[in-house]
């Protein structure tokens, strides 16, 4: 067959697809990043259709559809021009010997802009929710994992075991995203401590209770799956292990933020059970976590530097310290001398009240929380509401596009950080 070079490059059909104008909204307020709801302004508020998700509703309630927020940048609680705020922030960072970058509530673009600033200042970076993030990271670093994603669970799972909690309280759309309610849906089991109340919809969900703590339960479940005798109290877990073996595709789901301290040990036991099952049948883990940009910033820093968060660029080199570089401890010990706090979603914790120079890039509602002296506040756009953006879904494989609902006139975190980095060059020159 003869071929000739096509000289004219035509725009692909996708570029002109009418569907692009009506791009669906991706909810940025939880790491399931649902994109099947409609949102529209009704009577001065955002109205959701297609879901009753409390988390989405609560996140959206922080935004008014009509007016841009009347919050300007502030220095020590006094309104100022953006340039003055940037300059003051640059001076704070230039004067700092060991800054902490916390919160890290931003999207991929914000993280990409943050890394050069972190390198320049030698900052330690730890997100809000860093402890939960590190439980997953440390378990991964220790033994690895075998995981799955939402489409696989929806299409393939015939048994979903939720370890320690039913995720619907914090992830209201969890069951729907797993295909529960559709034909050929999976059976759902929740493994709970004997005394724990079941929060969330119980209909159709099996509850398996165990005595003792989650460390024991996860370890015993892994042992039962491996066919090891674990004693008389393990009856329910042995039965659960048998169901896992009988399933053609079992999913073990857990919420990293609900695990106790040293939760990496529980994750490791879950991963061990999955690995054992995969010798004969099929199974996978599904971690739930990484909200408010946490897992996104972690992914971006990992690809840029080769190391995850809780890392800093010191004169010695890039140091990764998953235990020592926790933000709360560093603040409590006064081991840092300046704080840059990023919280662009509005759903993050408020900036810590500390007697340190503080720079806060945040949702306008945080203005009230940072009135003290030695504070620069710069309101920023929220990805998925005031700006476009990208966030990683909880399963880590899908980087979801976010669409702006409105133009609120606020700069993005990336905009501010790029300007701050340039200003820092000037402040140090």
């Amino acid at each position: 067959m003869a071929h000739r070079l096509r000289t004219e490059l035509r725009m692909s059909a996708l570029e002109t697809s009418p569907g692009r104008d009506a791009a669906p909204w991706t909810c940025p307020f939880c790491p399931l990043l649902c994109d099947s709801f409609r949102v529209e302004p009704v009577a001065g508020a955002w109205a959701l259709t297609g879901t009753d998700c409390a988390r989405a509703r609560d996140g959206l309630a922080r935004f008014e559809p009509a007016a841009a927020p009347a919050v300007s940048p502030q220095i020590d609680g006094i309104a100022c021009e953006p340039e003055a705020a940037i300059a003051a922030a640059a001076r704070m960072l230039a004067a700092s010997r060991q800054p902490l970058f916390g919160g890290l509530g931003t999207d991929a673009a914000g993280a990409r802009a943050l890394y050069p600033l972190a390198c320049r200042t030698g900052a330690i970076c730890d997100p809000a929710g860093g402890a939960a993030l590190m439980q997953g990271v440390r378990a991964l670093q220790d033994r690895g994992a075998f995981t799955t994603t939402l489409a696989e669970v929806r299409a393939r799972a015939d048994l979903i075991v939720c370890i320690g909690s039913l995720p619907t309280e914090h992830y209201p759309e969890f069951l729907r995203r797993c295909g529960i309610g559709e034909s050929r849906a999976a059976e759902v089991v929740v493994l709970l401590p004997a005394a724990a109340p079941l929060v969330g919809p119980a209909a159709g969900i099996d509850v398996v209770r165990f005595d003792g703590d989650l460390f024991d339960a996860a370890a015993m479940l892994a042992a039962c799956v491996a066919g090891r005798a674990v004693g008389a109290t393990a009856g329910p877990l042995e039965a659960l292990a048998a169901r896992l073996h009988a399933a053609s595709y079992a999913v073990l789901a857990y919420e990293t933020a609900q695990l106790p301290a040293q939760g990496a040990l529980i994750i490791e036991a879950i991963n061990r059970a999955v690995a054992t099952l995969n010798q004969r049948t099929r199974a996978a883990a599904l971690p739930l976590g990484g909200a408010d940009g946490t897992s996104t910033v972690n992914a971006v820093f990992t690809w840029l530097s080769g190391l995850p968060l809780r890392t800093r660029a010191t004169p010695l080199g890039l140091e990764h310290e998953p235990l020592r570089f926790g933000a709360e401890r560093l603040l409590a010990d006064r081991a840092v001398d300046a704080l840059l706090w990023i919280a662009s979603f509005g759903t993050e914790p408020a900036p810590p009240t500390v007697n340190l120079p503080r720079i806060v890039l945040g949702h306008p509602s945080f203005a009230a929380a940072v009135q003290g002296s030695g504070t620069v506040f710069i309101p920023v756009a929220t990805p998925g509401v005031g700006s476009a953006g990208h966030l990683f879904r909880t399963d880590g494989s899908v980087l979801m596009p976010l669409r702006a609902l409105r133009d609120d006139g606020l700069p993005t975190v990336a905009d501010v950080l790029q300007r701050l980095t340039r200003a820092l060059h000037g402040a140090e020159a």
Binding site: L9, S12, L14, G19, P24, A151, L304, L318, H390, M400
Partner: protein, 560 residues
């Protein structure tokens, strides 16, 4: 307007048939130009004693995307220099980034460019992970880049094939996927096998049925190869074959070539697919059989996937095979995943040992393939970074190929059975600089359909690597004297001089948009992302790729 004259270098430019002539090159506006009579250069660099080649192009290197980032997460212990952290760069143009077998994207860009490479292609992009992959490549400084999107394990393709859906519909789906993910080509990994593993199948030979869809790898390979041919995608189907790493897998590899029935295709990291079952350990080199097949089938090109001794990590989409090999993990940990009903991944750290019989033989097999295939235009130099070894080992590999006495010295140090018996011992061929230039820039550019890359003719992009002539080819190729990217000096004697953002190569084949109706229904019924959120538009691609230039490659049009 500045015109740079690169004066008096020995030019090796196989695309234009230039083999070592002393000649000047002129660079203006990022391109190689010829000067009109009377025109003069405004700047000049004396290249006496230097070899001048186009910038290197790595057409198969795992530089970005989900599994690469998982490898980084898995192995922080390798991001150290002995007991200390890896030192920060002294060069203010560089940002801190770890190297080794799981480099950060920043280090990936710096180290490739310092070595004279100016483009790299990620071979295993998942459509669902395309934005992430493009972001990582966009954060790989200086290098141009592109990616092949994976198909052939997505349930939709297998279902269409299984149900006997009209081929034109499958072809349109392939075209849609390339457009949606902004890919440069299509790769199939263990055809059908990644999906089969999700159905608990542990092995899939070329003519064996997928346990659920009842289609064979042979059908998958042939259908995809034909679809790409009809879509006019310049890079033909990129194939990671069945049974990777399995003794005796040469049969699968030869059957895969046969499945093409003459359609063009590129077989990747063939070293891992060229194993026989002879000898007391039931593991032997099948390099000769593979080379004979490649020599006899002009429709086939290969890259080698040479292994290098030492620590690395294997990052692959081949969940079925990676699960099987995870027991060999060193250190003993690994990551696997089933992903979005379209793909999978397996990340297994591995240490290749020169005193291990299998590893030593793998090393020899790779070199045998390089040296036994006649046509260098169909052999590309790779280590399948990081799977066979990190890309930073390329200069060493080039020396092994160019210097038979050095090769013999290295062979003699290996496991004694291999040192004594490998066919490699009898192969005295030494590749020339001309052949190395083909395998590292001219051939990959041609195989990818990049008309203005990989050569130094007038009109080509001024991606240029200048090496100081040195009998020690490893030293020579490790540290070029000058590297230019689009005419900008980006590295000088191993030091980064500028960090422009690289461009993104992709293709936009035409297809019948009627397929979108079916795809929309499919994603609503079985997917996890709204159909209208799947495709990446040009503006979004720009932001993902850090504002780098978009470099669309032209498609071919079938004509009777």
């Amino acid at each position: 307007m500045t015109t740079l004259r690169l004066r008096g270098g020995r030019v090796i430019d196989p695309t234009n048939g230039v083999d070592g002539e002393l000649r000047d090159l002129f660079v203006r506006d990022g391109r190689i130009v010829t000067l009109a009579p009377g025109e003069a250069a405004t700047e000049e660099i004396d290249l006496a004693g230097c070899i001048v080649m186009a910038g290197g192009i790595d057409m198969h290197t795992h530089i970005g995307g989900g599994k690469v980032n998982l490898a980084r997460l898995l192995l922080p212990e390798f991001q150290r220099a002995g007991p200390n952290p890896i030192a920060l760069p002294e060069n203010p143009l560089e940002l801190a980034s770890c190297g080794g077998c799981t480099p950060g994207t920043l280090a990936t860009g710096y180290r490739y460019v310092e070595m004279g490479y100016t483009a790299a292609f990620e071979p295993a992009m998942m459509a669902c992970n395309a934005r992430h992959t493009h972001m990582e490549m966009g954060d790989t400084p200086i290098l141009d880049h592109g990616a092949y999107v994976m198909l052939g394990n997505d349930e939709l393709f297998l279902e269409m094939l299984s149900h006997g859906v009209d081929f034109q519909r499958i072809r349109d789906y392939v075209g849609w996927t390339i457009n949606a993910s902004k890919a440069m080509g299509v790769k199939v990994v263990n055809p059908g096998g990644i999906s089969a593993f999700k159905f608990n199948q542990r092995k899939l030979d070329v003519d064996e049925d997928h346990v659920h869809w009842r289609v064979t790898p042979r059908q998958v390979v042939h259908t995809l190869a034909k679809a790409l041919r009809e879509l006019g995608v310049p890079h033909p189907l990129h194939i990671h074959g069945s049974n990777l790493g399995v003794a005796g897998n040469i049969e699968s590899t030869l059957e895969t070539i046969a499945a093409l029935e003459g359609l063009p295709a590129h077989l990747t990291h063939v070293q891992f697919h060229a194993y026989g079952t002879e000898g007391p350990k039931k593991f032997s080199s099948a390099a000769l059989r593979l080379a004979e097949a490649v020599n006899a089938n002009a429709n086939v090109s290969i890259d080698v996937g040479q292994i290098m001794f030492g620590q690395t990590v294997t990052a692959s989409g081949d969940t079925m095979r990676q699960h099987a090999q995870s027991k060999l993990a060193s250190p003993r940990k690994w990551i696997g995943a089933d992903i979005e009903c379209e793909a999978g991944c397996g990340v297994v750290p591995f240490r290749y040992r020169d005193q291990n019989f299998v590893n030593a033989l793998q090393w020899a097999i790779g070199l045998e393939i390089f040296l036994l295939v006649d046509d260098p235009w169909r052999v590309v130099l790779t280590t399948d970074h990081p799977n066979g070894g990190p890309f930073t080992s390329y200069p060493h590999l080039i020396r092994l190929l160019m210097d038979s006495s050095f090769r013999a010295e290295q062979l003699a140090k290996l496991h004694p059975d291999v040192a004594a018996n490998a066919a490699l011992k009898e192969i005295k061929r030494e590749l020339s600089l001309y052949e190395i230039a083909i395998m590292t820039r001219a051939a990959p550019a041609r195989l990818l359909g990049l008309k203005d890359r990989g050569h130094l003719g007038a009109g080509a992009a001024a991606d240029i690597a200048v090496y100081r002539e040195d009998a020690d080819r490893e030293a020579m190729f490790a540290t070029p004297a000058y590297v230019f990217k689009d005419g900008t000096l980006v590295a000088r004697a191993g030091r980064i001089e500028a960090v422009p953002v690289g461009g993104t190569h992709f293709v936009s084949p035409e297809y019948d948009r009627g397929i979108e109706t079916m795809l929309r229904k499919h994603h609503a019924a079985q997917g996890s992302v709204n159909f209208d959120n799947i495709a990446i538009g040009h503006d979004e691609l720009c932001s993902c790729c850090n504002g780098g230039r978009l470099l669309p490659a032209a498609c071919f049009e079938a004509a009777s």
